[in-house]
């Protein structure tokens, strides 16, 4: 598989798997307005996955694949999303903090992709649209981090706990492999150290301002890019793919 295809599918997998998690909140949010807002973001993520998969199908050397092939007919090891996306939702602090950490990663990654100089290709334009969306998501999740970080003692405590749990998974953002390096070399992906610097800068400032200290734990997740997943992934896929697996090759 060529690097561009692999990279696109990874982005698509991130979007779909996190979108799937976010969609679990629909109908169960903490209040009505937030239920709607979270569903809206989930829709953006699912929509993003569809765009990326459809693009991937157009460059896949195996013809006849489509968005649903990638979503429903691949096995766990073929999904190369970052593990942070597949973790169960936890409480609202966990959900919001994950969005915040991940939205910022998205803004930086898609911004680089949108500047990828390949005029005949639709990918940069697609990425530019996603940057806009992600900037909006980031503004929203940043506001929520402030609310929960500075709200009550309980909300602050929950945010602390969420940060402890999530931090090691963010290390995967910077766990570049050959595909990422190849994308860096054509200017479609941020340099690893640059990404780490830009991401940490903003994230640490926002967290500091809401009196959340960075965890000391040195544990780091790894392997998502190579199709290695947490124990949660199999269940997520079993649920998501159930109809396509049970009744193969039908129209729905």
């Amino acid at each position: 598989m060529n690097h561009l295809l692999k990279y696109t599918l990874r982005l698509g997998d991130n979007a779909l798997i996190l979108g799937q998690r976010m969609s679990e909140w629909c109908g169960h949010g903490p209040f009505l307005e937030e239920d709607i807002a979270m569903a809206n973001s989930a829709l953006d993520y699912v929509g993003r996955a569809r765009l990326l998969y459809t693009y991937a199908a157009s460059i896949d050397s195996v013809k006849g694949r489509d968005e649903d092939f990638y979503a429903f007919r691949r096995d766990e090891a073929e999904f190369e999303n970052l593990q942070i996306c597949e973790l169960p939702n936890g409480d609202y602090a966990f959900t919001i903090l994950r969005q915040f950490l991940f939205d910022h990663y998205c803004v930086l990654v898609y911004r680089a992709l949108s500047r990828f100089d390949k005029p005949s290709d639709q990918l940069p334009g697609l990425a530019a649209k996603i940057v806009k969306e992600s900037s909006f998501h980031l503004a929203r999740s940043t506001k929520w981090v402030q609310r929960l970080g500075l709200g009550t003692i309980e909300s602050n405590l929950r945010m602390k706990r969420a940060l402890e749990e999530l931090w090691g998974y963010t290390r995967e953002f910077f766990d570049y492999d050959e595909t990422d390096r190849s994308m860096v070399s054509i200017g479609a992906c941020p340099e690893k150290e640059k990404l780490r610097f830009d991401w940490s800068n903003l994230v640490e400032k926002v967290l500091f301002d809401v009196s959340l200290k960075l965890p000391e734990s040195k544990w780091e997740a790894n392997g998502g890019r190579q199709g290695v997943h947490t124990e949660h992934m199999g269940k997520l896929l079993a649920e998501m793919q159930v109809l396509q697996r049970r009744y193969p090759s039908l129209s729905w």
Partner: protein
Amino acid sequence: MVKNMEKIGQFERKIAEEEKIEPKDWMPDKYRSSLIRQISQHAHSEVVGQLPEGNWITRAPTLRRKATLLAKVQDEAGHGLYLYSAAETLNTSREEMWDALLDGSAKYASIFNYPTPTWADVGAIGWLVDGAAIVNQISLCRTSFGPYARAMERICREESFHQRQGFEIMQTLAKGSEEQREMAQDALNRWWWPTLMMFGPHDAHSMHSQQSMKWKIKRQSNDELRQQFIDQTVEQADHIGLTIPDEKLKWNEERGHYDFGEIDWGEFERVLMGHGPCNQSRLQARQKAHEKGAWVREALSVYTAKEKRGDFKIMEREAVNE
């Protein structure tokens, strides 16, 4: 006393002349309380209505269906929001209405107390339940209370999307494999009668109907609306080759309507009294979300109060000084 008579006269004149009653206008207490009851029930139905279809968001069979379903369930939450706002213009609060939903004292549409075991149920709900809701809501666009009528107009536009999407799901299944066809027919069998019950008891037995009709809160009777729904849906079922589970269903040339079998009013009463298959789980889902969200709402309100007081500006300045 004279003044009161004058007010009543004015109110009744407005109703007679099809002028909308607005929140600032004088209105009889009973008119107000009937509206609060009806609009809040309607709002509750939208948010409880998120649950049966929400059950399939994570399992939708294609990404297109997943996106459409998610958007649909989100629309229903939005409808809830418009309706709570419309009810709030009558001097009640969202909290009050929400509490009544959670403690079980307020009603919502019984239809949502039925389960969604298969994907075809998502199609059946869109096609039949949203279809029935539209018939009812189009009629309510002419209701006498302004904010309710306007909420209905907005909602009707979205409901017709929902109905078409649901119909399309059923059509796809009906044209599909044998298993898919069976799935679709089975869903129609289960949803048909409960959908007819959505229009409420026969006119002769309807508790609130007469006064509501007089005040033009309701514009058409339960039986009229039910008939209208049946007439339009029979043809749609024929079109996709599914069979409506009613042996007595037959075109009546003389009436210009379909005749149909008797609804099981015993079942209607049972579900209404809380003994439907999902009454308990629907209410629990709402209570659980509310309880789990309590600390979030609390944090939000504390944060907003601090922000208003300017606490965070002081912090920012201190941070700069450091």
